[in-house]
């Protein structure tokens, strides 16, 4: 997957490997595996880890697209709320008697609308994406609560169980996650479009002068994240068998955490899909290891918070050194 390295890295010598944040993520991943195995004898079981991954697969998939949004110099904190609202709209439509295809299309359309609303506010009205998406985060989840109330909406029995479908022994959501990572990785790492995303994030003005339609690129990324999030919401409905407005509550932190831990630079311009891919596994291993050891969930909150701070300090440090 070396072709995913952004063009900013010209040094081909293996020493530059240490200057790459993915190396940090990978090292942490190994450390976490060892730590979790020491923490509980029940942890080291590939099937269990894969099964646990399906619990956050939806967030992980959306985080891959979020990575691209962050690289382009914006951020979207509303994706987790989008997952909840799309899932509720989808479940509501099919529960009211519509055919499944129509329900799925409605859910995806809802995601398209949500992504577009974010994009319009950020790009057309030039409002800072961080505050806009805090606003839409509250708004989307609020709408989910208006639609579903406090009760859960069931989906039909035959639709349940995307996470128990196996492809060569790997749960289907994990396959989707990996496939999405490969596709997005190739787009970002090898295409002109991918290079333009980096350029927009590094220096928007310079990108404009170079003739890159940065607004169109950003708009497209917000909409893509909206649609992918809604697909994830529908997948979550299949995994759970029912949805409630509080689906993926607080997921925005986990998604940002995945991107940051994977070495995406919060100010844009740097980061890779590979990094987020590794970070998603890192997070699953850390939280699963602690859960199976019956540690207080509070310790998990604390560790997640610390990880985010450490990750961002480390990436900042690595990038500032690389710049010298």
């Amino acid at each position: 997957m070396t072709n995913q390295i952004p063009s900013l890295y010209h040094k081909k010598s293996w020493r530059s490997l240490f200057n790459r944040p993915e190396t940090m993520t990978f090292t942490l991943l190994i450390l976490a595996l060892v730590g979790a195995s020491l923490l509980s004898e029940y942890f080291l079981d590939v099937n269990y880890i894969l099964r646990s991954f399906t619990l956050t697969a939806e967030l992980s998939i959306a985080a891959l697209v979020l990575t691209m949004v962050i690289i382009s110099g914006e951020i979207d904190l509303s994706a987790a709320a989008n997952i909840a609202l799309s899932a509720c709209i989808f479940a509501y439509v099919q529960a009211s008697g519509a055919p499944m295809t129509l329900a799925i299309l409605t859910g995806l359309f809802a995601g398209l609308v949500m992504g577009s609303l974010n994009a319009i506010l950020v790009i057309v009205y030039q409002l800072p994406s961080i505050i806009v998406t805090i606003g839409t985060l509250i708004f989307y989840r609020g709408l989910a609560q208006v639609i579903a109330g406090d009760k859960s909406i069931r989906v039909p029995e035959w639709f349940i169980g995307v996470n128990t479908k196996m492809v060569l022994g790997v749960p289907f959501p994990v396959v989707i996650f990996t496939a999405t990572a490969i596709i997005l990785g190739l787009v970002l790492g090898t295409t002109i479009y991918g290079r333009q995303i980096y350029q927009v994030g590094t220096n928007n003005t310079a990108a404009l002068h170079a003739g890159i339609k940065s607004n169109r690129i950003k708009f497209g990324l917000f909409v893509l994240l909206g649609v992918v999030s809604s697909a994830c919401g529908i997948m979550a409905a299949s995994r759970l068998g029912s949805v409630r407005y509080d689906l993926a509550l607080g997921g925005e932190l986990q998604m940002v955490l995945m991107a940051m831990l994977g070495g995406t630079y919060i100010f844009g311009g740097r980061g890779t899909i590979l990094g987020t891919f590794l970070a998603a596994w890192l997070l699953v291993i850390v939280s699963t290891g602690m859960t199976v050891a019956n540690l207080l969930p509070a310790i998990q909150l604390t560790v997640l918070g610390l990880l985010l701070i450490v990750a961002i300090i480390a990436t900042n440090f690595i990038y500032s050194r690389a710049r010298r």
Partner: protein
């Protein structure tokens, strides 16, 4: 910090290996969320039961009570290979799949203090604190006795979809309509404070504003009754508006002592844990049977019957707390 982490790592490791060596029944109780005082007493029942009978007990709970937050914890217990998962479910249907996975591994799944109504086939049995069909009538009698069976009453509940509360409210409505003893009482409103102190307080305030002739409020939720009592206390109207409902003695003690609340009701959460532990061990070692209509003995609780739907109650009726007995309860 690092030292602490290492220490807890070592502690968890020794704990885990100790568990594997033991022949006792491994029971884990998964609460709705951590920091919920209600579960302290329930957990205590488990702990003390496992001091005297052959079981190991652990309590885990997610940080927040959203529908899916318990799933990783159930998965982890399946992976640990425990014998019994007792759980107060956060959702009536989001847990079906993972419950099935647990039962496929021969793990006994008991819902405690709340059931997965409508999806009962995904758990083995449920342990409820009391006969929920009588709660509504008991609560109406409670508020009636406080207001002299005359005047306007209102209900301050939890969330609009809370299944237990809605079931009880249905019972209250039916009792008020059909029992002539309460013919002079009218239910003027049912409002929902979402089990948040802020919202419950606002709802209580607007009840008082919307219904100036209000005489009594039933709050069948621990958060609601405390918020309602606080409003009445701060406005000094405890003589005209009587607040009652279901509450925790530890949270209501002050209000009872200063006369704001004359009486309220609940059951013993401790006994739920105590019974669940005994039932788990009995089923696993073969001395009890999970059959509708069957009975078994539990120390301190006497003969327990398994009701239709594999539902078990720890006590027949609600306990009423008032100034005379509140100091006897420490939960």
């Amino acid at each position: 910090m690092i030292k602490k982490t290492i220490l807890s790592t070592v502690a968890a490791f020794t704990l885990a290996s100790g568990m594997a060596l033991s022949e006792d029944i491994d029971i884990v109780f998964i609460g709705k969320n951590t920091g919920n005082p209600y579960f302290d007493s329930l957990t205590q029942g488990f702990v003390e039961a496992c001091d005297v009978i052959a079981c190991n007990f652990e309590f885990v709970a997610p940080a927040t009570a959203e529908a899916t937050s318990q799933i990783p914890f159930i998965e982890a217990q399946i992976q640990r290979g425990v014998d019994v998962i007792a759980i107060s479910p956060n959702s009536p249907d989001a847990l079906n799949q993972v419950f099935d996975a647990a039962r496929a591994k021969d793990i006994l799944v008991l819902t405690v203090n709340g059931d997965i109504t409508g999806n009962e086939e995904h758990r083995d049995a449920t342990i409820l604190p009391t006969d929920f069909t009588k709660v509504g009538a008991d609560q109406v009698e409670m508020v009636g006795s406080l207001i002299g069976y005359e005047g306007e009453v209102a209900i301050l509940s939890a969330t609009t979809e809370a299944p237990d509360q809605n079931f009880w409210i249905e019972g209250m409505n039916k009792t008020l309509e059909t029992d002539s003893k309460y013919s002079k009482m009218t239910l003027v409103a049912t409002v929902y404070g979402d089990d948040q102190p802020e919202k419950s307080t606002t709802e209580m305030e607007s009840l008082l504003a919307n219904f100036p002739k209000l005489r009594g409020v039933i709050a069948p939720t621990t958060v609601g009754i405390a918020a309602g009592a606080q409003v009445v206390q701060s406005r000094g109207i405890s003589d005209t508006v009587k607040v009652t409902g279901l509450g925790l003695p530890s949270e209501m003690r002050d209000f009872v002592k200063d006369g704001t609340v004359e009486g309220f009701q609940l059951w013993s959460p401790y006994n739920e844990g105590w019974l669940a532990a005994h039932f788990s061990v009995g089923l696993k070692n073969g001395s009890m049977e999970n059959k509708v209509g069957g009975t078994f003995q539990v120390p301190n609780l006497g003969t327990i019957t398994i009701n239709p739907g594999n539902s078990i109650n720890t006590q027949a009726a609600l306990t009423t707390f008032n100034a005379a007995n509140i100091d006897d309860f420490n939960f």
